[in-house]
Symmetry: C2
Subunit: 247 residues, 2 copies
DNA sequence: TCCTGAGTAGAACGGTGTTCGTGACTACAG
DNA sequence: CTGTAGTCACGAACACCGTTCTACTCAGGA
């Protein structure tokens, strides 16, 4: 009996086996008919949809039609939409490259991992919403946690501080990318350089603020400043440079 | 002609008038019939639902039945569900108390505001999801931004750093409360002290991890440590203590 | 040859946000 | 007092969502 999706998901959460579960014989590609549906095909199709149209457009029905089938067919391979979300961020985390910890370069290494996460999240806009729900349960997400922990420990950070820091860092990356994504989808999906005009518009709005907002009006330039990921780098620097190192 | 909800929302986003828009005569309470539906009544009912059953349960239909009417009746006062979300976090932010900036106590003041935000978000579990979408557009949210900015400036923080910092702080508070909320709803809503048993369960899971997770297994205690809001305080401290002060 | 059982779908259920058209009601002009 | 205009409330309906029930196909074992 090949495992039901429920069993597969339970196994994924058991956190015991490190990847067992040999692909169960896959009955027959059966020569003709159509392509058989696999979990991998579902995930790939889902990623395609999210990359093209954003996470909002990711519905069971859209995935099904992308696979030229009905919605119910997916439920033989996936427990839930929540389960699909988990699989998505699992595969996303699986693609993160974790460097060998180098005590001399721990700072740039940890920033590099965070930037990888950020770029992956932004590549699939809105998917951070799924990441919030699936965080810290999947094995693949734990792998990047392990990698980040190893980097900080190699850098001589106190274990307790390191443990809490990787949590905060991951949380911030999620939140940052989520905010960016919803801001993007908010004002139409005109990609490209329209964030510049958006900045001028922002400045105009700040200038039009009532007088009960003196600081915001005065420092409107600072509030709207920052190209691309300046804010991101700033906050990461704040969190990293403050970490206590007993040595 | 009394303003349509669309106009009202547009005015809310215009950021010009500082609260104008005198309550437009409110035709007649009309003595009898039933209670007339107002935007305020809608918001209050919505808060009640979220507080009792979480943000997931907040549907137009639920609000409507709470007001003893049909769903379509709400759309005379509210543009959207998105609009309702915005109104909710608007009122929530309006309830935040902003202290008079004191250069001697800027640190505890900024932490206090963040803690207020955190507690409000946690009081209405899941509402941070709405906050992510509505951030930085509403006038009430800008008010707390202004207050935080004033505190940091009074503390002698560089304007650019202060501007970016309030953004990061607000973002982190949102993310932290959102994660806590989804974690709560994840394992049934048994309130109270079941997070203790959850911690032992977590330790057991970490112990059962494969050997490719040496650091996570070794520092499982640190990873699962922290009572209540220790993690929150830790991260806030990281972000605040690292702020550059030219003086 | 039949039988079994996993994988595939079609149809349907209950739920969501939102819109349309109708009706009741109030306030005001004649 | 009557007619009219305009606002508001509401039932019904639409399109879509996640999910389940059920029948059906069809390769492999007996």
């Amino acid at each position: 009996m090949s495992p039901t999706p429920q069993q597969r998901r339970a196994a994924r959460h058991r956190l015991g086996t490190g990847q067992g579960d040999a692909p169960p014989a896959r009955r027959g590609p059966s020569g003709g008919r159509k392509k058989p549906i696999t979990v991998d095909a579902i995930i790939t199709a889902a990623f395609g949809i999210v990359e093209a149209e954003g996470y909002e457009a990711l519905t069971m029905r859209r995935v099904a039609t992308a696979l030229e089938t009905g919605p119910s067919s997916l439920y033989a391979h996936v427990v839930n939409k929540e389960d699909l979300d988990e699989l998505l961020i699992g595969r996303l985390c699986a693609g993160i490259e974790l460097p060998e910890p180098d005590p001399e370069r721990w700072r740039e290494q940890i920033v590099g991992v965070c930037a990888q996460l950020r770029d992956q999240y932004l590549r699939y806009p809105g998917i951070s919403r799924a990441a919030f729900a699936a965080a810290s349960s999947n094995l693949d997400t734990l792998r990047v946690g392990e990698g980040m922990l190893a980097i900080l420990l190699a850098g001589g950070i106190e274990p307790q501080a390191a443990a809490w820091a990787i949590d905060s860092l991951a949380l911030y990356v999620n939140a940052y990318t989520l905010e960016l994504s919803v801001a993007d989808t908010r004002l139409g999906r005109t990609g490209g350089d329209d964030w510049v005009v958006s900045r001028e518009e922002l400045l105009r709005r700040f200038a039009a603020l009532p007088d009960s907002f003196p600081q915001s009006k005065r420092y409107a330039a600072e509030l709207t400043a920052g190209t691309l990921h300046d804010r991101f780098d700033f906050t990461l620097g704040l969190m990293i440079d403050g970490l206590p190192r007993p040595r």
